[in-house]
Symmetry: C3
Subunit: 198 residues, 3 copies
C-alpha cells in the first residue's frame, strides 16, 4: 500500500501545481495549493481516524511532493498550453484519485469500519485535498458536476471491501483495481460520460 | 435524544435533496449534498469530541438518509416548483436545525463543557453540515445573512443548558424546546424578521 | 506564550469585526465572523493535536473576544471609512497572524514534531481561522494572492524552530521574532512587495 500512497502523493502534487499556475498564484500560493492537494486528504483522514497526522512525525511525503514540484518545474510543465496541459492535469488527478481511494479504503478496513466507513475514508482521503483546494480557489468542487469523478472512488473502495470480505488480498488485487479504476475514469472523461440528473 | 437525532437526519436529507436538485447536480452530486447536509454536522461534532465518527461503526443513520431520499424521490419532491418547493425546503431545514442543535447541546452537557462549549457543539452539529454544503456549492452560507437562523440554534441550546442547570431534564423539556425553536424560526422566516446590522 | 495568544485573539477579533461590518452582515453574522477568525485557528489546531478544544473547558478567550468586540463598537470602529479602516484591518490582522504563528509553532515544538509539523501547526493556527472566514464569505482566501502573508507565518515559525534547536528560548526570543515578523509584514504590504509568479 505504501507505493500506492507515494504514487498518489506525486500525482496530486503535479495536479495542484498545474492548477496553481493556471490561477496565476505566486510561488507560495502554488506551493500551498500543491501541498493541500497532496496532503490535505491524508491529514483529514488522520483526523477522522482520531490520531495526530503522521506527516508531523514522518516527513517523507513532503520530500516526494518537493521532488514532484521540482521535476514539474524542471520540465517546464507550466509552459505547456491549452489542451495538452488539461490532459496532463486530468491524468495526474485521476492517478491520485484512484491511488488515494484504495489507500484510504485499505486503512478503513484495517480499522474494522463498516462498508459506509470504508467508502467514506477512501473518499475523504482521495477527494478531501481536492475539495479544500477547489473551495479555496473558489470553484464549485468539480466532483459535484463533472464526469464520474466521485463514483470511481466509491467503486474501487467498494470492490476492495468486497474483495477483502472474500479473503482476496495482496498487490495483485490492488493493482488490478487501480488499473480498472483508472481506465473507467479516463474513458468516462474522454467520452464525456455523465451520471443522469434526477 | 435518539429520536431527535433521527428526525434531524431525515429532515436534513430532504433539504439536501432539494438543494442538489435545484442546483442541477447529477445523481451522485445530489446524494453527496444530501449526505453531507445530514451527517456532516455529526462527523464534525465527533471530531471535536475527539472520537472516531460513530457512523463508521453504526450505519443506522445511512439507512435513514437513504429512506428519506427514496421517499423524496418517490413522491416526486423534485418536481414541485417555485414557492411550494421553497416552503418544503424551509420547513425541513428548520426541523433539522432545531433537532440537531438540541442533540448536540445535550452531548456537550454530557461531556461537562462550559456554556460556550455546549453552544458551540450544538451549533456545529446543527449548522456544520449546511455550511460545508453551502461552501461546496459556492453560496455564502445563508446563516450569515438570513433570518435568525443561527440565533435560534444558540437560543435552544442555551435554554437546554439552563434547564439542565436547574435539574430539569427528560423528553418533555426537549420537545418543549423543540416546538418553541421551530415556532420562532418559522414565524421569523415568514415575517422576514432580521437582526439589526451593526 | 499565553500573552502572545491573548494578543492574537484580540487582534483577530478586531479584524473579523471589520470584515463582518464591511460585508454588511447582521449582528450575529458579525459575531460569528469575529469568533471564527479569533478561535477558528485554535480549534483546528486542537483537532490536529488530537485533543478536545481547550476553549470548551476554559472560556477565557471568549471573554477576550467579547471585550475586543465591545471596545471596537464603543470607539465606533465601524464608522471609520475607506483607507483608514483598511489600515486598521491590516495592522490588526498582521498582529494576529504573527502572534498565532509563534504560539502554534511553540506548541508543535512541545509535541516533538518535525520541522514540517511545526510549520504546519503554526500556519494552521494563524491562518486557519482566516481561511474559514474567507471561504464562508466567498472570497478567495487572500493568503493565496496577496503580499507575503503566508511567507511571514512560515518564516517566524521556522526561526522559532531553529532558535529552539540552538537552545535559545524565553520571552526575549519570542518578542524579537514577533517584532521582526510584524515589521516584515507591514513593510511588505505598504511597498506592495509580492513573491514572483512561477
Amino acid at each position: 500500500m505504501d507505493w500506492l500512497f507515494l504514487v498518489g502523493t506525486a500525482a496530486f502534487s503535479v495536479s495542484g501545481y498545474l492548477l496553481g499556475v493556471k490561477k496565476r498564484f505566486d510561488m507560495l500560493g502554488v506551493l500551498i495549493v500543491a501541498l493541500l492537494t497532496a496532503i490535505g486528504g491524508g491529514v483529514i483522514r488522520d483526523v477522522l481516524l482520531n490520531r495526530i497526522p503522521i506527516i508531523f512525525f514522518d516527513a517523507s511525503s513532503v520530500w516526494v511532493i518537493c521532488a514532484a514540484l521540482l521535476a514539474s518545474w524542471a520540465v517546464s510543465l507550466h509552459k505547456v498550453y491549452g489542451a495538452t496541459m488539461h490532459r496532463v492535469f486530468i491524468v495526474a488527478d485521476s492517478v491520485g484519485l484512484i491511488a488515494f481511494s484504495l489507500a484510504g479504503a485499505d486503512l478503513g478496513i484495517d480499522y474494522g469500519f463498516n462498508l459506509f466507513g470504508v467508502l467514506f475514508v477512501g473518499f475523504v482521503t482521495a477527494i478531501g485535498g481536492g475539495i479544500v483546494r477547489d473551495m479555496m480557489v473558489n470553484d464549485v468542487p468539480f466532483i459535484l458536476h463533472k464526469d464520474v469523478y466521485g463514483t470511481v472512488s466509491i467503486l474501487v473502495a467498494g470492490l476492495l471491501y468486497a474483495a477483502h470480505g472474500q479473503g482476496w488480498q495482496g498487490p495483485a488485487v490492488v493493482w488490478g483495481l487501480f488499473s480498472l479504476g483508472l481506465a473507467i475514469r479516463l474513458v468516462a472523461h474522454w467520452r464525456d460520460f455523465r451520471l443522469p440528473q434526477v
